[in-house]
Symmetry: C2
Subunit: 241 residues, 2 copies
Amino acid sequence: MSTVSTKADDIAGILEDEIVGGAIPPGAVLRQETLSERFEVSRTPVREALRRLAALGLVSFEPNRGVRVRSISADELREAFLVRAELEALATEVATPKMTPDDLAEMDRIERRFGELTLELRDQARTGAPRDAALFVEWMQANYAFHDVIYRVAELPLVERIAKGARRTFIGDRAWRARAELDQLYAKNDLQHRAIREAISAGSAQAARTLAREHVLSSNRLIEVVLETLGAAGREPGWGR
Amino acid sequence: MSTVSTKADDIAGILEDEIVGGAIPPGAVLRQETLSERFEVSRTPVREALRRLAALGLVSFEPNRGVRVRSISADELREAFLVRAELEALATEVATPKMTPDDLAEMDRIERRFGELTLELRDQARTGAPRDAALFVEWMQANYAFHDVIYRVAELPLVERIAKGARRTFIGDRAWRARAELDQLYAKNDLQHRAIREAISAGSAQAARTLAREHVLSSNRLIEVVLETLGAAGREPGWGR
DNA sequence: TTAGCGAATTCTGGATCCAATAGACGGAGA
DNA sequence: TCTCCGTCTATTGGATCCAGAATTCGCTAA
């Protein structure tokens, strides 16, 4: 079954990844003509893709002006973490009684890898080694993989969709600038994962829920640190062409 | 300030209302040509509007086939209520310490009106009077208005957007078919509103949170009843033209 | 020198046109 | 009669074309 797709969908997917990945920075203006040249299509599918991005809230749409990548404010970021905290708590609670031994084993495997990566990250942060973007990305992915097991077991597609949408407001790469301050927070993250896993293993849905909620909320603290060290970097380049 | 808007946005807005309001039933196929004739525009803005609806999850998009209004399954409906329960709980908790006397007064006003409407509805349900759609709509709106005060005070736009998105999966009119069974649930709804209001008034954010969560979850029970009485009405008309 | 005004340019929004796909219809053969 | 296959039509996806809005730029005048 060759899953058919339209060019508009392909383009939207690519742009989506680039925006959430930070390749296209917040505040950037997306020109239809430029995009149509880049993807070697006409402006029609490009515009449909942009409509989708706008509906997803990734870009803001100003009639007769153009679209620009939305830069999230500190408030929005905080709120996104609140939402994630509630929904991850819910997913964890629901997933706990549904966990099979296989699922738990998978969580263990991911958690071990996550622990290793965390150690490496902390080492780098301590020794002041040059930043290793690939390592950070891998750490992030392992982090997400841990939570993804929970989502998969919970079988709550709507919750998963919303939570992952809120997840993307964390523009990964930026955290690096503040990595020196993040040492203990890295460690805390790892410990929390273990606590969640143990609560699930013990079959305590309520404890797992509470731990998951606190886990996300303390990630929020991590973000606060990042925002502080970043300072007021929020410049809005204007519509200039 | 004459808020400019594109035709695509206008069309999307209208279709959105019609879909969530039930004027366009789930399973209906939306033909581009038909819509373009109806709105007296070309197919271009229609397609952009449909893209937006697809991104919002209101319709499903099948390449080279068309779009159809998504019919929510019982599982999806249940999940939407879980999400709403968590987010309303969050919003209520956040809103509680921010409530001003004016806000509380407004809640009182709405609650009184809601109580009256609830009584009328219960009377109708008991006496088996002919269904009064306008009354039900008004009841629903008063219900939403109550919660909207909380959202406004909480100042969490993202939470509000998501929760209201989940809210719309409740296709209002259908509930009527089961109204006889809903008598006590109506009453419960009213009592819960009062309890939430009192907890907020007392400044107990945690109690308000718990009450709000239970309130939405018991609405879920209401929906279960509706679904049961509705039976398996889920027909998928196929793509036939 | 600078403020204001108007033309020119650039870009978006929408309409129209063409290509490609999917389902419907109908005929031929087993 | 039923199945298979080719054709035909309805409908979507994408390209191109045109109109209108917004910004830029340059000219004029105070």
